[in-house]
């Protein structure tokens, strides 16, 4: 019996001009149902590429991703991706309500309660009630990411993939959204893969933290985060075990960065790997 979500010997090389660049080298990780896994790594290590391969957005050069026993070759219906760039991911021509209704429209899923009613519930869940008729440009960054979270929930996914979802919001909003997502994760029994470069965030949210090495990335270590749940924004972060886990991970991360790749190499990797 293999895991619910398994990443099996994934590698990815990009061709930039005449050069080939190895972004990911043989990454394997098994993720259980309802598990919260954070993938941690320095910028340009190919974290986003890995997540996009898991999502079925780009094909791996070799290896495969299996979700619930089926190979992922295109974005699976019950897997949803939360982008870092919420301002580009939300559709500017749709109001908050219509954005949230988008997955339901695509799935043709209008049975039972009215679509509007269901969308309003998701909007309430992320604390956006009253803003449903506003357009994204009328909302603050944090509110936009909340809207994107509501839309992700409307798809009723079993897996939520998050690509540095809070790195573009202010520090306080970030703390609020982390707690909000942990609540949603617990309530909806989601399986989460969170890609981040924020050690604090990874330790605070995840059950396990997989650390990637520099390019071509492999999994350098996997750390169990045995902190009690529900986690508290302030108290958890002050506990001795949190601090020691954070210390350990930061230590490895900073050491691994020296000597780092030259700035030139990092740029090429990012050009090939990220959203351009």
């Amino acid at each position: 019996m293999s895991a619910f979500l398994s990443v099996d010997a994934i590698s990815k090389t990009f061709t930039v001009g005449k050069q080939t660049l190895s972004a990911l080298g043989r990454i394997s990780i098994e993720i259980e149902r309802t598990e919260f896994v954070a993938v941690l790594g320095p910028s340009g290590c190919g974290k986003s590429t890995l997540l996009q391969i898991i999502a079925g957005l780009i094909p791996p050069t070799s290896g495969r991703v299996m979700l619930d026993g089926k190979a992922v070759t295109a974005p699976p219906r019950d897997m949803v991706y939360l982008f870092q760039q919420y301002n580009k991911s939300l559709f500017p021509w749709r109001t908050v309500l219509d954005n949230v209704a988008f997955p339901l429209e695509i799935q043709g899923n209008s049975s039972g309660r009215s679509v509007r009613q269901r969308c309003l519930e998701y909007i309430a869940m992320v604390g956006l009630s009253g803003s449903e008729d506003q357009y994204p440009w009328q909302l603050s960054g944090g509110m936009q990411q909340r809207a994107a979270i509501a839309r992700a929930l409307a798809a009723e996914p079993s897996v939520l993939l998050m690509d540095e979802p809070f790195s573009a919001v202010d520090a306080l909003t970030k703390l609020e959204l982390q707690t909000l997502l942990l609540d949603i994760w617990a309530k909806h029994r989601l399986t989460v893969v969170l890609v981040t470069h924020d050690v604090d965030e990874a330790v605070f949210m995840a059950d396990r933290v997989a650390m990637l090495s520099a390019r071509p990335s492999t999994i350098a270590s996997v750390t169990d985060i045995a902190l009690p749940r529900p986690r508290d924004t302030i108290a958890t972060r002050e506990s001795a075990s949190f601090l020691s886990l954070r210390h350990g991970l930061l230590d490895t991360l900073l050491k691994k960065d020296r000597p780092g790749p030259t700035p030139d190499e990092v740029r090429v990797t990012m050009d090939g790997a990220a959203h351009g």
Binding site: P75, R77, S89, F91, P92, F102, P103, Q107, W137, G276
Partner: protein, 252 residues
Amino acid sequence: MDRTGSRLLPGLVSFVAVLAIWELAGRYRLVNTVLLPPPSMIAATLWQIVRTGTFLAPLGQTFLLLFVGYALACGFGIALGIAMGRSEPIYCFLEPLIELMRPIPKAALVPPLFLFLGFGATMKVTIVALAAFFPILIATIQGVRGVDRIALDTARTFGCPPVRMIFKIILPASLPMIVTGMRVGLGLGLIVVVLAEMLAGEGGLGYLILDMQRSFAVRQMYAWIVILAVAGLTINAVFEFVEARAIPWRSK
């Protein structure tokens, strides 16, 4: 309201000033009133045309030609623009041809079109469609190519199939660009329809303006020009009205 008033007032002053100078120049014989009758005389003639409803048939004819040609241009321009914006092979196949034809002032194509399509409505609709087609096509290609990857990826992760992607993401995302092209196309269409009517001589506003000049009905000529100007203004106002409702998300 007050602010709008203070913004409109200077424009009104310049408009009235030009009319007054024109009027006085005529009264004091500073210009030849046979060639340039004062506004008051043109207004009287204009009122005659409006009151009797004489303007309706020619205006209707010109508008019909314009809108049929424009609708064709929008349909083909947007459809081909999406195809070229989405498909690299189609783009490479057609781009040189389009770049070659685009800079030709479409007015120059009226004489050759006479040869193939005669002097009737078909020719005029065709030339309007040709003139409006290119700006709409180019704007659509740019709009479609500019659709953000993340918006497309987002739709894909929700399982949006490729055909629905066009209507759900690509079209709305590029609509502001498309509408900009449509605005340019409409202006060019109006110019070309008037020109075609002048050259083909089968009625319509363009024909009447030239016909009045040739029969030396100078006041009527100016009156028809005013009617054409008001028609152009009206089309533009309608366009802006529709645009504001088609793109309600555009931040003010």
